[in-house]
Chain length 274, copies 2
């Protein structure tokens, strides 16, 4: 069987079943003492095109997607390790721009590796500290479903052959982390990510699409693209964030648009952890 | 200027000078509380060829080179994060073999990422704990220079289009870590790595090539290849390890073969951290 048939989640599930990896369903691994570590890779031609974003934006993005995973664990980033693969013919100035973009995310690079590579890739590891990690499995009927910002910007930009900078939601993650029953970042599309909460928590999530704040230029179809990197929480206390749905008894996700059943495509392929 | 002209160490030095990375001259980053984190990438066609080693050996190697960096910080590995890039057409069984090879190194995979990629690459992050990190800068005249095992196996194997499994020197690192003044792992070749100690410590290292234990099939020329991943320490107490030289007042590295000056090529290009 080929990996393209199995998909990334299928691969990880099989590896976990064989005892070869542990707890990979979460975006971040917790190591006791509140230490949380995330790792994410971006590959040229798969996750980005250098004619669609600058080296600086690529660096910012590589840091930001990891901070988003930390924020989803209610962890504050403390350090980065960056491994960069680039062709030897790459310009030094481009690589400096990339590291300047990483620095704009505000956390020092404390280690890593640079190597020659036929394509550009970046693996970033982010270390952070959390007081309380909500996880994904604690949502209960009665919880409000909240989101930390407008969605759809990434999908709208992609239609125009652009990337937008992911938001940094560290403070919002810490705020939600105090009481949320489930917390994650929206990487696969709000409906797919809401389904992660529903499945792990054993509840049903009702998502009211007309309550979801849309980014400028975005339509409801862009919600299926994912990569918005806003936080989605099931919580008894909305903490001032926009309520876009609720948890009820049952399973699965119910999408409502003006009170009527609706559908938004998810975005899941052999690509990145959910 | 192109990266290939600058070299990896030149690139890292420039990035550090600009304040974009910190403390990258060490193989491992220390985060307080004894936490030590390493990260290393292996890229197909640059660091390995899949017709020269099996998927299982590749997995073991990716874990082992990180454990070597931890051992050089006298740290015991506790967890791994593994990011794997592979073409979608790769066979699931090959990927399972790779993770089985990682598991043979004895430490659980607690997170990471899998992604499609046009070529195979692996970024492994290893987390460990150390009681005392010797660093590279503390060697003083009078210290013995010791090595934890025979050298040259990697160079000899490479001549036959093979790779050997790196040794795991965790216990040796902990033993040396108690009192060594400088400790690192031999990745660039013993003479180049001894020069790192000399430069950072501000002393001169006299290396007696005829005292260096050679691996089966290896010649003194293979010492310049590096990648042996044995530990090299400058220490007042040899702890039972083979003495291959000493630190004296001065600077640089002096190579002696049967008491006469000698030369062994180093191995330094745009490739990997020293």
């Amino acid at each position: 069987v080929r990996l393209s048939e199995l998909g990334e989640l299928g691969l990880l599930a099989e590896l976990e079943r064989r005892g070869l990896v542990e707890g990979i369903e979460h975006d971040a691994a917790a190591f006791g003492d509140g230490l949380v570590v995330t790792q994410d890779s971006l590959v040229e031609g798969v996750h980005f095109r250098l004619d669609w974003l600058s080296w600086r934006d690529l660096g910012f993005r590589a840091a930001a997607v990891n901070f988003s995973d930390l924020a989803a664990s209610a962890a504050r980033p403390e350090a980065l390790l960056v491994s960069l693969g680039v062709p030897g013919a790459s310009a030094f100035d481009d690589v400096v721009e990339l590291y300047e973009g990483i620095a704009e995310a505000g956390v020092p690079v404390r280690g890593g590796d640079t190597t020659e590579s036929p394509f550009v890739f970046l693996t970033v590891t982010a270390l952070g500290r959390a007081e309380r990690i909500p996880g994904r499995a604690g949502a209960v009927p009665g919880d409000a479903l909240v989101v930390t910002g407008p969605l759809g910007a990434a999908g709208a930009a992609f239609r125009e052959h652009r990337y937008v900078r992911p938001p940094l939601r560290v403070e919002e993650g810490l705020r939600l982390g105090r009481r949320a029953h489930a917390l994650l970042d929206i990487s696969d599309g709000v409906a797919v990510d809401a389904a992660h909460i529903a499945r792990r928590s054993g509840c049903r999530v009702v998502l009211e699409l007309d309550r979801i704040p849309l980014a400028a230029g975005a339509t409801v179809e862009d919600l299926g693209f994912g990569e918005d990197f806003e936080l989605l929480a099931a919580t008894p206390e909305p903490e001032g964030f926009r309520i876009i749905g609720r948890c009820v008894a049952g399973e699965g996700v119910e999408l409502l648009l003006d009170g009527q059943p609706a559908e938004v495509g998810g975005w899941s392929h052999f690509r990145r952890g959910s």
